[in-house]
Amino acid sequence: MSLTKEAQNILNWSDTVELIDNLRVDEVGLKERVASLATRSIKKDSKLQALNYIISMCDLTTLEGEDTEGKIGQMTAKAIRPDPSNDEVPSVAAVCVYPALVSKAKKMTQNSNVKVASVSSYFPSGQAPLESKILDTQFAIDEGADEIDIVINRKAFFEGDYRKMYDEIVALKEVCKSVHLKTILEVGELRTYENIKKASLISLAAGSDFIKTSTGKISNGSSREACYLMAKAVWDYKTVTGFKAGIKVAGGIRDSKDAIRYLVIVNEELGSEWLNPDYFRFGASSLVDDVLKQIKKLKTNAYQSSYYFPRG
């Protein structure tokens, strides 16, 4: 199996079938390994390094019906300079918004390194015809989005129509061209570990630059087990094709401790090359606040109240 230049990072369907054929996951071993990775000793300097990584890997997100341009303005200001009282804190990687707010976010971030990501393809359900999804995605790109977060077609996936799911991602990848494509699996709805790995591999084979755990719209969004399996899928895909894909974890990651555990999983399963915003992201709305508090605590030995940090 190999990729051709014209195909970008897309693997053809028959090779994809081979990749997902007879897929098995050892559930007990998986849980045991993930639990043991949660006990790594991250303190002082290594913790500070981890917290800075997390900030620089964050996609600061707001995906609500009530979002306004004013709110996006506030959030992008925070994204560019998360902690005005501390110069050493890096900017976040990106802001993640609905397509209608992309142009505003783009305007706000024009003089910074912060990218603008947009959800599309009828996020969060993905229950719409492909034509609509393409329009939705095209609109976000025309507005200037640097990255596109799409959802997989879960309807097709559960009906066993993997081909349809694959074809949709391929079609959206064509629309995206060089724009970064992140594919959301919604692992909380996939039910089994085999499904998570299968969906990961299909998404990667269809040309995703990133695979992402969750929309953040359901209660059981992300899990460390899912992140581990996705890391394994990324590794498998790299072994087969040589393409290095990224992972974005999102949905329910609210505190630094949890985020650090995800970082450990990626560090140990994929290596330190992946500890970099090009290959690993956190999608979060409230995580940044906790990380900023922890950084402050490491510096001053005292916890600060939330109102000392920017809102957004």
Partner: protein, 185 residues
């Protein structure tokens, strides 16, 4: 980007002190071996020489047996309750310093710290507690009235669970009056 280094774990190798050389333990203290021979013990993961351990010869063994015979005279007069006290104390001492033992076991044997910390050492302590419990109950069980001290036992310890096996067999024997064994590895 730089590599991300973790903080030192509580099972770091710096928590243990290993001396350069060890004699053989006879008569309650480390003594120079008659053979004057040493073997190096290395850490399988780094191949670093951890220490040198004495290699005993026939004369060393004989003196160990002599010492054990002396010990047996005192030990065999103790009641089961008294013997149990020693074993319980040993069990608690092992529990207290379990982490250090686990690190040593891992350095020496190369097994994952997870195994030595979470299985080997807890098992050692549990064995001591178990046999400590038996010491004063032997007379009450299996028609075992009138048990007599057996004497000296020699033990050869296999390699795969050194600490566990060494202690398991020792505590079993001590509990049952066999008393004062010595071991070669």
């Amino acid at each position: 980007m730089n590599k991300w280094e973790y903080a030192e774990s509580i099972e770091s190798s710096s928590i243990v002190n290993i001396e350069k050389k060890y004699g053989i333990f006879i008569d309650g203290k480390f003594q120079n071996a008659n053979s004057k021979k040493f073997i190096k013990t290395i850490s399988p993961s780094t191949e670093e020489v951890l220490s040198s351990v004495s290699l005993g010869n026939e004369i060393d063994i004989n003196s160990a047996v002599e010492s054990a015979k002396e010990g047996l005279k005192i030990w065999s007069k103790l009641s089961g309750t008294e013997r149990a006290k020693y074993l319980f104390k040993l069990a608690r001492l092992i529990q207290e310093r379990s982490r250090e033992f686990a690190v040593l076991e891992t350095l020496d044997g190369g097994k994952p710290i997870k195994e030595s910390r979470d299985f080997d050492l807890p098992q050692v302590a549990a064995n001591f507690f178990y046999f400590a419990g038996w010491a004063d109950k032997l007379d009450l069980s299996w028609n075992a009235k009138g048990l007599k001290p057996y004497g000296i036992v020699g033990q050869i310890i296999p390699w795969n669970f050194p600490t566990t096996n060494a202690f398991l067999e020792s505590c079993a024997s001590i509990s049952n009056w066999k008393c004062c064994n010595f071991k070669t590895r």
